[in-house]
C-alpha cells in the first residue's frame, strides 16, 4: 500500500512555452484511499493518470510514491498496475496467461504464480474461463480479467482509466459495486479516472474535479457536491446541473438582497463583509432544491416563469421553465401537474442558494440561515 504525491505537476507537449495539457497539479492520495479524478473529455485527468503510471513523462513538478521520487523511474519499476478502458488483454494468450504475464517477467516462482492466478480467478469468478482466450469472453468477463491482471500483481497502487466505459448500463452498476467491494477488501490505494459523475460520487473516498488541465476542487464527494468551488464544479456535478442565473446585489439597511430573474431575495447566509465590493454575481440553485408554489400560496419571493417543457421520468418530473434570467430546470415530484405554457412560481430555500463572483468562484456563505425559505 502506498501514498501518491503530485506536486506542481505539469505536462506539455512540444516543449517549454507550449500549451500545457496538465498544469500545476498538486494532489496527495493517502494510503488505502480511493481517489477519483473526474472531469470532462480533455481536462487532463487521463494524462495525469498516465504520468503517475509512467506512460507519459512529467514536464515539470514532482511525483512521489511512498515518498520516493518517481519522475525518472520507468513504468515497470513503479510497482503500479493499470486497468485500461479497452481492457488491453493480450489476444493471443489465454486468461491464465494474461494473468501470469506480468508475474513471469518479474521472476515470480512458478508455484507462486499458479497460487496467485488461481486465487485471483476465484475471487473474480474466472476459474472456469482460465483456458479461454479473450475473444471467447463477454465484455464483463474481459473487464474482470483486466482487473485480475492488476490484482494478481499485488501492486502498491491501482490505476483505473475509465474501466467501465465499454460496459452496458446494468453491467456497469454491478461492476461498480464489485470494484467498491474489492477496494474495501484489498484496502489498496486506487486512483480512478472517469467522466461519469455517478461513478465518482458512489465510488470515491475523495474526488478530484479537473478542468482545462488544472484541479478545480478536491474533497469528499458530498462535500464537493454541496460546496462547489466554482461554477464549473457546480454545473459538472449534478444531473440536471445546477441552475446558474445572472444576478445583481443590492445593499439595503437590513442587509444585502439579490435581484435575479425578475425577483428579489434577501441573502441571509452571507454577511455584508463577504459580499463587499461585489455587485454582479451568478446565482446558483440546484434543480432538486426548488419546489412548485401552489396558486393559492401566500405571496413570497420565488422565481417565476413560463413552463417550456415537462419531462416526466417516472420517479420524478423535470420542469423546464423560461424565466427572465434564463432557462431554469426544477426536479419535482412525479405527480407534478404543470403543463407547457403555464405560468409557475418556484420557491427557493435559503440554505440551497449559491453565489459566485464575476470570475465564477464561489462566495463562501459565512452565516447559518435563520429560515428555510428566503423571505
Amino acid at each position: 500500500m502506498a501514498t501518491v504525491q503530485l506536486q506542481d505537476v505539469c505536462k506539455r507537449y512540444g516543449g517549454v512555452g507550449s500549451l500545457a495539457a496538465v498544469q500545476d497539479v498538486s494532489l496527495t492520495v493517502a494510503d488505502g484511499e480511493f481517489m477519483v479524478l473526474l472531469g470532462p473529455s480533455g481536462c487532463g485527468k487521463s494524462t495525469t493518470l498516465r504520468m503517475i503510471a509512467g506512460l507519459e513523462s512529467i514536464s515539470d513538478g514532482r511525483l512521489a510514491i511512498d515518498g520516493r521520487p518517481m519522475n525518472a523511474v520507468p513504468a515497470k519499476d513503479r510497482d503500479i498496475a493499470m486497468v485500461f478502458q479497452s481492457y488491453a488483454l493480450y489476444p493471443h494468450m489465454t486468461v491464465a496467461e494474461n494473468l501470469s504475464f506480468g508475474l513471469k517477467r518479474r521472476g515470480t516462482p512458478r508455484a507462486e504464480i499458479e497460487r496467485r492466478v488461481n486465487e485471483t480467478a476465484e475471487m473474480l469468478g474466472l476459474t472456469e474461463y482460465l483456458a479461454r482466450r479473450p475473444a471467447a469472453l463477454s465484455g464483463g468477463q474481459r473487464q474482470r480479467v483486466a482487473l485480475g491482471r492488476a490484482i494478481v500483481r499485488e501492486p502498491k497502487v491501482f490505476l483505473f482509466d475509465e474501466p467501465l466505459s465499454n460496459l452496458d448500463a446494468a453491467l456497469r452498476v454491478a461492476t461498480r459495486n464489485e470494484l467498491t467491494r474489492l477496494h474495501r477488501r484489498l484496502g489498496a490505494t486506487m486512483i480512478y479516472v472517469t467522466h461519469d459523475q455517478v461513478e465518482a460520487m458512489t465510488m470515491g473516498s475523495r474526488i478530484c474535479v479537473m478542468n482545462r488541465g488544472r484541479i478545480a476542487q478536491v474533497g469528499a464527494p458530498l462535500d464537493v457536491y454541496r460546496n462547489p468551488a466554482d461554477t464549473f464544479v457546480a454545473r459538472f456535478l449534478g444531473s440536471p446541473p445546477m441552475n446558474l442565473l445572472p444576478a445583481r446585489l443590492h445593499r439595503t439597511p437590513t442587509g444585502a438582497r439579490v435581484h435575479v430573474a425578475g425577483s428579489e431575495f434577501p441573502l441571509t447566509r452571507w454577511s455584508d463583509a463577504a459580499l463587499a465590493n461585489i455587485d454582479e454575481v451568478t446565482f446558483g440553485i440546484r434543480p432538486e432544491d426548488m419546489h412548485l408554489l401552489p396558486a393559492a400560496a401566500p405571496p413570497q419571493p420565488a422565481i417565476s416563469g413560463t413552463v417550456a417543457s415537462v419531462e416526466p421520468l417516472g420517479a420524478e418530473t423535470l420542469l423546464l421553465v423560461d424565466t427572465k434570467g434564463g432557462e431554469v430546470t426544477a426536479r419535482l415530484h412525479r405527480d407534478t401537474a404543470a403543463r407547457p405554457g403555464e405560468t409557475v412560481r418556484l420557491a427557493v430555500p435559503a440554505s440551497a442558494a449559491y453565489l459566485f463572483d464575476p470570475d465564477g468562484r464561489a462566495i463562501a456563505a459565512d452565516r447559518v440561515p435563520q429560515d428555510e425559505a428566503l423571505n
Binding site: A75, K76, M82, S86, A88, Y90, F101
Partner: protein, 282 residues
C-alpha cells in the same frame, strides 16, 4: 410439402446461379492450364506434338527422375531453396522490425522514411537491374548466392514493410502500455506481443515473398551466370534451345518448381486468409 421444398431449392439455385457460374468459370480458367502442364509433365515432347491436349497414357514418371538427376534439377532446387528461404527469412525479420518501428515510434522523419521506402515500389525492376549488377560486381557479390539474396531482400523489403506497417499500426497502443507496465522491454514487447498478434500479416508476407522469389527470373538470370548457382526458373531455361524447345521436359521442370509453392501455400493458407481479411471483421 415436398414440392414446396423443391421449389424453394430451385429458386435459391436460380438466385445463386450467376454467382456459381462465374466461380466455376474462374476456377476452370485458373486450374485447366495447371492441369494441362501437369499432364504434359508426364508426356514426351513427341507425344505432345502429336496431340497437344492428350492424356498421359502411358505416364512417363521417369521424366521426373531424369530432370532431377540428369538435368541438375536437384542442384537448381537446392540453390532456389537456399536463396529464397534465406531472403524470405531476412526480409521477414527486417521488415517486421522496421514496420514495428515505423508504426509505433514517433521520431523525426518517420513518415519521410516510410515514403522513401514505399516509393521504391513504383519503379519497375528493370530500372535498377543494371546499377545492381554493377554494385554486385564492385563488391565481389556478382555470381554468388549472397549477392542474389541481398538483391531479393532489397526488392521485397518495401512491400513487406508496407503490408506489416498497416497491420501493426492497428494493434491498440494499450497493449504495448499494458506490457510496459507488466515489465517488458521494447524488444520483448516486439517479440511477445507484436509478432504473435501480427502473425496473420507476417505469414501473408512470407507467402507472397516466397511465391514471388521462387518464381523470380529476371534478376536470377542476370546476376548469376555460374551453372552450379542457378535457381529453378533459370534452370528450366536449359530445355529451351534457339530452334527446339523440349516442351515435355519444361513441363516436368515447372511441376518440380511449383511443388514447394503449393506446399507453402497449403501450410499457411488459413493464416493468409486471416491476414487478408483482418480489419474486415472486428
Amino acid at each position: 410439402m415436398q414440392a414446396q421444398r423443391w421449389g424453394d431449392r430451385l429458386s435459391a439455385l436460380l438466385r445463386r446461379g450467376p454467382l456459381l457460374a462465374v466461380l466455376v468459370l474462374y476456377t476452370l480458367y485458373t486450374t485447366l492450364p495447371f492441369l494441362w502442364v501437369g499432364a504434359m509433365s508426364l508426356r514426351t515432347t513427341a507425344e505432345i506434338s502429336a496431340d497437344h491436349y492428350g492424356l498421359p497414357s502411358p505416364a512417363h514418371w521417369g521424366k521426373f527422375r531424369a530432370a532431377w538427376v540428369d538435368s541438375n534439377f536437384a542442384g537448381y532446387f537446392w540453390n532456389s531453396t537456399v536463396v529464397v528461404v534465406s531472403a524470405v527469412a531476412i526480409v521477414t525479420i527486417l521488415g517486421a522490425m522496421a514496420a514495428h518501428a515505423l508504426a509505433r515510434y514517433k521520431f523525426p522523419g518517420n513518415r519521410l522514411l516510410y515514403f522513401i521506402l514505399f516509393s521504391s515500389i513504383i519503379f519497375p525492376p528493370q530500372i535498377v537491374l543494371l546499377s545492381l549488377f554493377q554494385i554486385l560486381v564492385n563488391y565481389n557479390l556478382y555470381n554468388t548466392r549472397a549477392g542474389l539474396i541481398l538483391v531479393y531482400v532489397s526488392l521485397q523489403l518495401p512491400l513487406t514493410v508496407f503490408i506489416l506497417e498497416a497491420f501493426f499500426a492497428r494493434i491498440p497502443q494499450d497493449l504495448f502500455e499494458a506490457a510496459r507496465i507488466d515489465g517488458y522491454t521494447d524488444f520483448q514487447i516486439f517479440l511477445r506481443i507484436v509478432v504473435p498478434v501480427g502473425m496473420p500479416a507476417i505469414v501473408t508476407t512470407v507467402i507472397l515473398n516466397f511465391v514471388h522469389l521462387w518464381n523470380e527470373y529476371l534478376f536470377a538470370v542476370v546476376l548469376v551466370s555460374d551453372e552450379d548457382l542457378r535457381t529453378l526458373p533459370v534452370g528450366i531455361q536449359r530445355f529451351m534451345g534457339d530452334y527446339f524447345q523440349d516442351i515435355g521436359m519444361i513441363a516436368t521442370g515447372v511441376m518440380i518448381a511449383v511443388i514447394p509453392v503449393i506446399v507453402v501455400y497449403t501450410f499457411f493458407s488459413e493464416k493468409l486468409i486471416q491476414g487478408m481479411t483482418a480489419g474486415a471483421v472486428k
